[in-house]
């Protein structure tokens, strides 16, 4: 009948049209725009708004510079960085703070997260303290950090780690609750020890949650390092920003911040990449290996 006719009409060539019937998420028109184009469009839109705001003159240049000024300064900073001048050194110091801070945050956050997620002692007795500590303005503790760790990068690393630890704790702890009853019962019947259940079941199951914490933490660690440098004694990028800010050199402040956010982006992208490789089954589930 008609179905057959149609099908005959399609013939061998129909295969190619039908190959697209694979099950995928629906995509909106936004998704079909290539990434580079959409990023650029966003960027230009952002620039335009910025330009208009500054051109209207409602905002003083010492509060918000024009895109052109910042653009010029981006070049200056880039030249300085490329020449291996003092800014490169400062960036290197900040990168070190971020790296060590993140490493410590992962270690401590993961351990505490396991304590909180695994034991009701952790969840009910330790967690309130952790929440309380994390609510406290870290700035108030800066003198303590300095008194103990000095003005070198150690105190900045500590502050950075401090801020990044909490998200990792919460993520890890939430992840440990993600395994379902069936899987838990299975482990039970296999005679798995608590430790084995943790390592071989709960941690793998909870990896997506853990990575959520890690991503938030990766951004927190940057903020922490810069805050630390703002508070005193640093020789890193934060200090450069602070000097520029105190001299009301706003274009410099903005361009330094932009370079800084590149470090943050790199760190975040790295975490994302690690997640993709570690939680391959999650991805496979979503994207249908086809």
């Amino acid at each position: 009948m008609s179905a057959t006719d149609l099908n005959d009409g399609l013939g061998e060539g129909s295969a190619s049209t039908i190959v697209d019937t694979v099950w995928t998420e629906e995509t909106s028109w936004l998704d079909r725009v290539p990434r580079a184009v959409s990023m650029l469009a966003l960027f230009l839109a952002f620039l335009a708004v910025w330009q208009v705001v500054t051109m209207l003159g409602i905002i003083s240049p010492i509060i918000m510079p024009t895109p052109a000024e910042v653009g010029r300064d981006l070049v200056t900073v880039a030249l300085n960085l490329l020449a291996g001048d003092y800014m490169l050194g400062a960036m290197w110091i900040t990168a070190k703070e971020v790296f060590f801070g993140f490493a410590i945050a992962i270690t401590v956050g993961f351990s505490l997260g396991v304590l909180v997620g695994e034991t009701s002692f952790g969840e009910r007795a330790v967690m309130p303290y952790l929440v309380a500590i994390d609510t406290m303005p870290k700035i108030a503790f800066a003198p303590l950090f300095v008194a103990w760790l000095g003005f070198d990068i150690a105190s900045k690393v500590a502050l950075a780690a401090f801020i990044a630890t909490f998200p990792i704790i919460v993520g890890t702890a939430a992840g440990l609750h993600a395994a379902d009853t069936n899987a838990r019962m299975l482990f039970k019947t296999m005679g798995a020890s608590r430790w084995q259940t943790l390592v071989k079941l709960k941690l793998p199951t909870g990896l997506p949650h853990f990575f959520t914490g890690l991503k938030i933490g990766s951004v927190g660690v940057m903020a922490g390092a810069i805050t630390g440098e703002f508070l005193g004694g640093g020789k890193g990028f934060g200090e450069l920003i602070r000097v520029a800010a105190s001299m009301l050199d706003t274009p410099r402040v903005f361009s330094l911040i932009l370079y800084l956010s590149l470090i943050g982006l790199a760190l975040f992208a790295f975490v994302n990449w690690v997640q993709r490789h570690f939680v391959f089954w999650h991805k496979a589930r979503v994207a249908q290996s086809d």
Binding site: S60, I62, V146, G150, G233, R242, M247, D249
Partner: protein, 311 residues
């Protein structure tokens, strides 16, 4: 009669450091001028000027250095009233240490509160006038304020600290005995005072007049020892927590008050000596805090209102 709302912005949350304002508020001097003053505290002179530039506040109390910096960037902010007529900064060392004068600090680390605050320009000025050069004869370490300075001293990370006199007084009062080794000739490096945007002066000179008049009255009232109890009560009303401990508040107040009494009272409260401005300017340029000299230095300050205020 309805009161006009204005905002005054100060670089730190202290009623004592801005005492004329607080006294004038509590004693009703502003009200008599038809003004309702609201005080806001930000974090340093830079943000004070930014608040003025954005129109969020009409009057502020920045240091002279940041004002010149802002002018160098085209912001028409004007220093209006010299409040801390005597230098409100100093170089202090621990009481027990052997340093007698600034040259003894050769090869040492000097702590500063902020990366490039007024006290840094000040300290740089002193040191360079004595032929000492940064990173050769001494180094600066940005340690922050208060507790951070205490931590730095106890760790022996710094040998001296360039600070505002109020900060040093607080440290001393809290048990870290400090000694001021600032040479007297640097007293003319005046400290923070009241500033305003030129546009405000142009638009509403009356406002500037009445503001200053009330400030002068507050200053005079506070300077009179008879009124001490009232003044302390006024300060407490403005910032209760800072003035909970009366002895502490009084000690600090005396320190600050002393810095506001001019050597030559005849010019009136708030008067700014152009020579002192030149000195500041020169020092800022020499030490690199200003990239190049400001062409219109006299426009950075005005004594135009001093007479009216002091009538």
């Amino acid at each position: 009669q309805t009161l006009k709302d204005i905002t005054f912005v100060q670089p730190s949350p202290s009623s004592i450091n801005s005492f004329p304002i607080y006294v004038a508020i509590s004693e009703g001097f502003f009200k008599e001028e038809g003004l309702n003053v609201r005080v806001e505290s930000v974090n340093g002179s830079g943000p004070v000027i930014q608040a003025l530039a954005s129109g969020q506040a009409q009057f502020g109390r920045p240091g002279p250095g940041p004002v010149l910096n802002a002018r160098a960037r085209g912001v028409d902010v004007v220093f209006l009233y010299n409040m801390m007529v005597k230098s409100s900064f100093g170089i202090v060392v621990k009481d027990g240490d052997s340093f007698k004068s600034v040259p003894d600090l050769k090869g040492k680390v000097i702590g500063v509160g902020t990366a490039d605050g007024a006290e840094v320009s000040f300290a740089r000025g002193i040191l360079s006038s004595l032929g000492m050069q940064e990173n050769r004869d001494f180094t600066f370490l940005t340690v922050g304020d208060g507790g951070m300075a205490a931590a730095a001293f106890t760790r022996d990370d710094i040998s001296a600290y360039a600070a505002s006199t109020a900060d040093a007084a607080i440290l001393t009062y809290r048990g870290l005995k400090l000694r001021d080794i600032t040479p007297v000739e640097f007293l003319t490096y005046f400290g923070n005072g009241f500033a305003v945007m030129q546009s405000t002066i142009d638009k509403d000179p009356k406002l500037v007049e009445s503001f200053g008049r009330a400030v002068v009255r507050g200053q005079e009232f506070a300077a009179d020892p008879k009124n001490r109890d009232r003044v302390l009560a006024d300060l407490k009303a403005g910032m209760p927590q800072e003035n909970e401990d009366r002895d502490f508040a009084n000690a600090l107040f005396e320190q600050v008050l002393a810095k506001t009494i001019p050597l030559d009272a005849s010019k009136g409260w708030g008067y700014q000596d152009p020579a002192h401005w030149d000195r500041w300017h020169k020092s800022l340029v020499e030490t690199g805090s200003l990239k190049q000299p400001i062409p219109d230095l006299p426009k950075a300050y005005t004594n135009a209102f001093v007479e009216t205020w002091n009538k």
